[in-house]
């Protein structure tokens, strides 16, 4: 186990650099969704809570682990759903906006090309 610590430290340092690089120049309109998305990603602590529940013995440990699984599930499920709802709003719907038919040509609703 003690040989592993250096290995884990290496992974930790490399991941820190990747985390810093990967989000790059994010526009300010995406700050909130990005925060929310990364919030969901750390919900992967659920894996940790499941592992620890497997090893928990006795009422105290099992109760705490049970609570941990609930909290982690809230984090991961809620996080992804909220982020998805935020990003749903970013879909541009130009067709819907120009939905008012100018004149009843019959083929009018087929081509949104002339919208505006």
């Amino acid at each position: 186990m003690s040989t592993g610590i250096l290995e884990f430290l290496t992974i930790f340092v490399l991941a820190a650099f990747v985390g810093n690089e990967v989000i790059g120049r994010v526009p300010s309109i995406l700050h909130t969704p990005l925060m929310s998305g990364s919030n969901a990603i750390h919900g992967i602590i659920l894996v940790g809570t499941i592992l620890i529940m497997g090893e928990a013995r006795g009422t105290v440990q099992i109760t705490l682990a049970f609570l941990a699984v609930i909290l982690a599930t809230l984090n991961i499920v809620g996080g992804f759903v909220v982020t998805d709802r935020m990003l749903e709003m970013f879909k541009a719907k130009p067709a819907e906006r120009a939905a008012k038919p100018e004149s009843g040509d019959g083929s009018g609703d087929a081509g949104p090309g002339g919208a505006k």
């Binding site: 991941a15 700050h31 909130t32 990364s38 969901a40």
Partner: protein
């Protein structure tokens, strides 16, 4: 290959998925797919975790795990689906907090399991880190939630000897942590956890409501680090990578957010000490009753209808009143009359960076009518009317002119440069930052009090008749 190697391989793939997801989330085009990718990666990783024999060794534990997951999902899905768009920020805060709580609990249970066997000092250190950071994130997020949900005041909470108390709590935590390291005692670890919860509360209390988004981002980063610490204790690469990714990118994002507000992070976190006094003092000092000019919807309707250029400055008040659709109706009506209209979006309009864009996108306002602050400000001087809907702090000239003000240095939308300024406001109550706005008393300013949706509906009617 052994079963464990297969699981590790799946974890590696999930980690790659998370990295690509974060990359996707930072570009508007790929953001949604990025989030879906992360969700799939997480689901696969969680699924394969059940392949570990240890997880399935005890039927009772396995059943309890599944029950707990079912409970969590049953609460999370409706909560996340039904929450109003305006309440998203506090939703993020609460989901972040429970993640921190989960990480702290994992570390605590590991300690309970290993404590009888006198664990090595470095293992206790990993555990302590997870407990401390996780607990701070948990209780800090809870207070942030309460502030945003307006369960408590959004203003900075200050009290006498605040810094002394903070110092005592900090020293006590360090002492308890050292004690735990040396003795490996369970009660000492529990005491550290409790004091960490207290630290989270007193750390967040003095932070003003307008700064809470930056704070949530910071706490999000903290939770990432707590998850990474749990990864160390459990020897789990996926937790280390995912937690560290979030910790590092979250820290960077936090700095970007405070930069968008023209502030340094330390200014955001610690400015309440001292500066609040000057702010309230200033408001009281100019105590002589000053008059504001109020207008009727008809007056303002005419003003708008015969303008050449109208800039709409939306704020949280618009969001609260769910008035984004009515605002768009008014804008469309004006544009039909040949008035040039665009929306000037402050980076932190609403409650969070980008929050207003989400709300207006919900009302199908096209992108090209939304201008970011830097793009909008040069055009303000040529605007006939700046129509400020439920915004206050983001147009407060004190940010430019009053060095003592808590928001001094924050970039604002230069509504004061427009020929006329119209405020649609609910009341004379100051904005979220709790500071008076000089602009309300300006000669060029007209106020229309009321719920934003209500007043906008009246304006639509007035413009139609103009």
């Amino acid at each position: 290959m052994t079963l464990n190697t297969w699981i590790d391989l799946v974890y590696l793939l999930a980690a790659i998925g998370f990295i690509l997801a974060l990359k996707g989330l930072s570009s508007p085009k790929h953001a949604r797919n990025g989030n879906l990718l992360a969700a799939v990666a997480a689901a696969v990783a969680v699924g394969f975790t059940f392949a570990y024999p240890e997880v399935r060794a005890h039927a009772l534990n396995l059943v309890l795990t599944l029950v707990a997951m079912a409970i969590g999902a049953a609460v999370a899905v409706p909560a996340a689906r039904l929450v109003k768009m305006t309440a998203m920020p506090q939703m993020v805060a609460i989901f972040n907090g429970v993640g921190g709580g989960a990480a702290a609990l994992v570390s605590i249970v590991v300690f309970l399991i290993e404590a009888p066997g006198k664990p090595a000092v470095y293992r206790i250190a990993e555990i302590l880190f997870g407990v401390l950071v996780g607990c701070v994130s948990f209780s800090g997020s809870a207070i942030a939630f309460a502030k945003l949900q307006e369960l408590m005041t959004g203003r900075p909470v200050t009290y006498p000897a605040q810094q002394v108390i903070n110092g005592i709590v900090g020293v006590a935590i360090v002492a308890l942590a050292i004690g735990t390291l040396v003795t490996g005692s369970v009660p000492l670890l529990v005491a550290t956890a409790v004091l960490s919860l207290v630290l989270g509360v007193i750390f967040v209390l003095p932070i003003g409501g307008a700064d809470v988004p930056v704070l949530i981002s910071l706490l999000n980063s903290f939770t990432g680090l707590a998850v990474a610490a749990s990864g160390f204790t459990l020897n789990n690469n996926l937790l280390i990578i995912a937690g560290t990714l979030v910790g590092a990118s979250g820290m960077l994002l936090t700095r970007m957010m405070s930069k968008a507000m023209g502030r340094s992070l330390s200014n955001v976190l610690f400015s309440a000490f001292g500066s609040v006094v000057t702010a309230t003092g200033g408001a009281d000092g100019s105590g002589e009753t000053r008059t504001v000019k109020t207008g009727t919807p008809e007056d303002i309707g005419v003003l708008l209808a015969y303008a050449h250029k109208v800039v709409i400055v939306p704020g949280y008040g618009l969001a609260v009143a769910q008035a984004q659709h009515t605002a768009r109706e008014l804008a469309d009506l004006l544009m039909e009359r040949g008035v040039e209209v665009f929306y000037a979006i402050h980076p932190v309009a609403g409650r969070m960076p980008g929050h207003m864009n989400v709300l207006l996108a919900e009302a199908n306002v096209p992108y090209d009518e939304l201008k970011e602050m830097d793009e909008a400000n040069p055009e303000m001087a040529t605007a006939d009317v700046a129509l400020v809907i439920g915004a206050n702090d983001t147009v407060n000239p004190a940010a430019k002119n009053t060095p003592g003000s808590p928001i001094y240095g924050m970039p604002i939308i230069n509504a004061d440069e427009a020929a006329n300024i119209v405020f649609l406001k609910r009341s004379m109550r100051p904005g979220f930052a709790g500071i008076d706005n000089e602009l309300l008393f300006d000669d060029k300013t007209t106020l229309l009090f009321g719920d934003a949706k209500d007043t906008l509906t009246k304006l639509v009617a007035a413009v139609k008749n103009a």
